[in-house]
């Protein structure tokens, strides 16, 4: 009988708990997503191993580079989940315990294995679909494709493990404390909404281990790249694929920004209760600022589409109108329930995908 070290059992139980919490949170929205985007999600699963299979067919040095990049990108969700799997409070409690490096590594290998397992299943299914089908593409060599996918998966696992080990180690202390400011309160801070916005809504996105800022930046970057691909229309990617990516990422970006804003407003409710701020104005001013911040991204997308000749037919006008109305509707409507909220998000995704895929049709 194999005796598992209590530390490893604890870390695995912690992971189960975190994943169960996440699943419970996503349960309401999952049903709607499965209903609305079920076929698209199944399609995504079917093509999940396509990138490593395709990269493996490239010449050796290029293939290696692309596979490494792909593996690193696939381990990003673990970076985002890390604070759930090892919450800061638990990490602080674990830090002084005498955990041997080998034990930490074994626990991290097992935990990252748990996290990478769904990806392994998706790759296995996708590989089977592509390798067993009749008339597979010329570039698809079964042995190279399988080896490339396996290499990418193992590297993703290693990256995930490295991220978990790094997260469990003590944070490096600054080389030297910065000189403290004495006599710093001779000048009064400039009052104004911009100052309040920065202190109450911007800084919390990036501090105390919050990944909200990073998630929003990644989604914004993804939206920019996807919309560029959509507008440029490279030969290897059909235009509707670019439209789908842009639509989904744009809605997710707005939803994530709105979600972070709502969470922060709830957090501030008690902290700001007795301070001299006009009652009730914090919420709507914050929402207006968020919408003003989203406007340049939508303007840039509109301008890029205009230059690429995207908005010349009904489908183009409809997509543009939907994209511009989606943000205020998502930001300004009450949350109702988690399920209702997700229904609204899925509705916009579907509508934008449906109209966007017909823009160049």
């Amino acid at each position: 009988m194999v005796v598992v070290h209590p530390y490893i059992r604890f870390r695995i139980r912690l992971t189960h708990h975190a994943l169960a919490q996440l699943l419970a949170r996503l349960r309401g929205s999952g049903e709607i997503l499965a209903l609305a985007l079920g076929p698209a999600l199944l399609g995504l699963l079917a093509v999940s191993a396509l990138p490593p299979m395709f990269f493996a067919s490239c010449p050796a040095p290029l293939a290696l580079g692309l596979l490494i990049l792909h593996a690193i990108a696939m381990s990003l969700p673990v970076a985002l989940l890390r604070s759930r799997i090892l919450p800061p409070a638990v990490q602080a409690w674990l830090m002084p315990l005498p955990v041997a490096p080998g034990l930490l590594l074994r626990a991290s290998v097992l935990v990252s294995g748990l996290l990478v397992a769904p990806l392994a299943l998706a790759y296995a299914g996708s590989l089977a679909i592509w390798l067993l089908q009749h008339g597979r593409p010329d570039w698809l060599h079964p042995l190279r494709a399988t080896a490339g996918t396996l290499f990418s998966l193992l590297l993703t696992w290693a990256c995930a493990c490295g991220l978990l080990v790094r997260g469990a180690l003590p944070a490096p202390s600054p080389a030297r404390a910065r000189a403290g400011g004495s006599d710093v309160y001779r000048a009064r801070p400039q009052p104004g909404w911009g100052f309040l916005w920065r202190h109450l809504f911007w800084l919390p996105l990036w501090r105390r281990g919050s990944l909200a800022g990073l998630r929003q930046a990644a989604l914004l970057g993804g939206t920019v790249v996807a919309s560029a691909v959509w507008m440029i229309g490279p030969a290897m990617l059909p235009r509707p694929a670019g439209a789908l990516m842009t639509s989904v990422l744009l809605v997710l970006f707005v939803h994530e920004a709105d979600d972070a804003l709502r969470a922060q407003l709830a957090r501030l409710q008690g902290a700001m209760a007795g301070l001299p701020l006009p009652p009730g104005t914090l919420g709507w001013r914050a929402r207006t600022t968020l919408l003003a911040g989203l406007a340049p991204a939508l303007l840039a997308l509109s301008a890029a589409g205009s230059a690429a000749g995207a908005w010349t037919h009904t489908a183009g006008y409809a997509w543009l109108a939907l994209a511009w109305t989606m943000a205020p509707l998502l930001v300004c409507t009450p949350p109702f329930t988690a399920r209702g909220r997700m229904a609204l998000v899925a509705f916009f995704m579907l509508m934008l995908c449906a109209t966007g895929s017909r823009v160049w049709n």
């Binding site: 403290g180 400011g181 801070p189 100052f195 202190h199 209760a273 701020l277």
Partner: protein
């Protein structure tokens, strides 16, 4: 209790949590000087301070500060009050300097040289760049007190000011409270289970007060 020139007037004040009532018709008159709010644990001292500071809304009755109603004139009321309490920083993503800046941007009537002097005398002038979540209990208390004592508000509410303070800081605070009690330029309400060295203008015992739920 009848006062000639009350700054704060609370009439038929009621407040209920979901599970219990705290105040069921409390009448209060507070004047300039130092009011020592006493009472057993759970009698509602912190709740009363938060109600007086505008951080909680009364379930019934009214609170007025120099005629300003805490609900009807909420913004003007809050500009003249400050609640100094809580031992865990709520805006924990800010540095100590940013925390001070935020409050200074909201309270326009602040004595900046006095703030700097309090930071210096409490030996926390060098924590400006540290996150408030990284300050010790005593340091955070000193930061709050430095700000509270620098704000030119009419009603200052201080919850358990001596908790976590070192001996030197307790002495400094007691001296400052004595000075303000003598000057009587504003109304200070503080709760403390420790005996005060300074004689308060008024001692308000919630255990013996009508309108406080049993």
């Amino acid at each position: 209790m009848e006062l000639e020139n009350p700054l704060v007037e609370a009439d038929a004040l009621a407040f209920h949590f979901k599970t219990r009532s705290v105040f069921t018709g409390l009448d209060l008159r507070l004047a300039a000087g130092l009011t020592w709010l006493r009472g057993r644990n759970g009698r509602g001292k912190t709740t009363l301070l938060k109600l007086l500071g505008g951080a909680l809304a009364p379930s019934g009755g009214s609170i007025r500060l120099n005629g300003l109603d805490s609900r009807r004139d909420a913004l003007a009321y809050r500009r003249h009050t400050f609640y100094c309490g809580g031992e865990a920083p709520e805006l924990d993503w800010l540095t100590a300097g940013e925390w001070l800046d935020l409050h200074l941007s909201l309270y326009r009537q602040a004595d900046l040289p006095a703030l700097q002097a309090h930071l210096d005398v409490f030996h926390i002038a060098d924590v400006a760049r540290q996150p408030v979540s990284g300050l010790s209990l005593g340091q955070y208390k000193k930061l709050q007190l430095s700000l509270a004592l620098a704000l030119r508000v009419q009603l200052l509410l201080i919850d358990e000011p001596f908790n976590g303070l070192d001996v030197q800081a307790v002495d400094i605070l007691q001296e400052e409270l004595a000075r303000r009690e003598t000057a009587r330029a504003s109304c200070i309400v503080l709760t403390s289970h420790l005996a005060l060295r300074v004689t308060p203008t008024v001692t308000l015992d919630l255990d013996a007060q009508r309108g406080v739920a049993l």
